[in-house]
Amino acid sequence: MSRDSVGRVFRPAVIVAALFALSALVVGQGLTVQDFKSNRPTPRMSNGKPDLSGYWKGTTDTKPGGNIGKDLPGWKLPLTPAGEAALKHNLTATIDPESLCIIGGIPRHNASGLPFEVLQGQNKIAFLYWYSYFRLIPIDPKRKHSDDPDPSFFGEELGRWEGDTLVIDSIGFKDEKVWIDENANPHSDALHVVERWTRPDADHIHVETLIDDPKFYTKPFTYSRTWVLGKPDEEIQEYACSENNVDAANLGFGPGPIRPDGTRGYIDPAPLPPPLPKTTK
């Protein structure tokens, strides 16, 4: 066992095992980065590092969408008893914070169906999200985590390069009004997230995310995903969540039923009436 910079137990053996298991799963699903073809090279900054800038869109290969456990067998998250209780609370006593215009945070934004945009500088990188949220991350290997960071939805984020991989290490998360994904799974204030971002070619961006939350999960687990580059004219636009959130007063607790395929929604909804016959106008 070793301890990280804030003195919490880090479990390298478990983490390596989790990454290995994840690799096998991803290969099994045909979702490796190599499966996405591109003949354009990775763009680079003047310092030689990959430039992650771009408008990034999810693909239908990400299944089940919106589920932070998508890379685990049966999408079964390793919840502790406290985690089970927190999940029950989220499902039965909380309205989706994002639908109430509360920041989704990390790792939820990485599990979202929403596209996002990256703007990268030499020493900082910005992730811009729909709902007009952003996170701004310093890229500085000398910076260390604070002893007691103010809790936030994106956490205290520190960026550094490991070769061509941008590593974002985050602690200091909120423990209330947060869902870790669209399915209302929980996280606590002990959450530690390590994102490893790569751009293997011009048209794809990929993240390997390590999620460690010893309060709510018995062991760390991983979430990996690839996005594709949007068209040149696609970009984040104004999306004022609180402008006219009429439905906030009509929303029930939790996301509703979770289907056997790990996504939220009804299994067998009633069909809509058939489209109207064609008319001459």
Partner: protein
């Protein structure tokens, strides 16, 4: 033309290209309560995170009842070809959707037949709702 628009509607929902769900469909709407509303457009709010339009519908007794219709975000809808200018007060409009779970006169307007006969998708793709 209607066939083309309907095809685009299906494509928009199946491609995953416009995933702008603000909340889970099942958190607000009842998947077992599909409904068709024939009404007259009374009010439009072309706003985020959803557009709302309000239609006056005659019930079985002949009384006029106002319904609130929720669709996707303006950006997602306009990219599908449904623009603010397509909704004119007083227009006849047909809404196919699902009733709110709380029993109020509110629907998720997933398919809308405009006054000119065009069929547009109002669905928030990615919300887990019926596709």
């Amino acid at each position: 033309m209607k066939t083309l628009i309907l095809s685009a509607w299906i494509l928009a929902l199946s491609s995953g290209a416009t995933l702008l769900a603000h909340h889970s469909f099942a958190a607000e709407f009842d998947g077992s309560k599909a409904i068709r509303l024939n009404g007259t457009l009374a009010k439009v709010e072309w706003t985020n995170p959803h557009i709302y339009f309000y239609i006056d519908v005659k019930d079985e007794s002949g009384n006029v009842v106002r319904w609130t219709c929720e669709s996707g975000a303006p950006g997602a809808l306009s990219r599908r070809g449904w623009k603010r200018g397509d909704l004119k007060l007083g227009d006849p409009i047909v809404v196919d959707g699902y009733r709110a779970k709380n029993g109020s006169n509110m629907v998720d307007a997933r398919r809308v037949t405009l006054a000119d006969g065009r069929i547009v998708s109002g669905a928030s793709a990615g919300d887990g709702g019926p596709q």
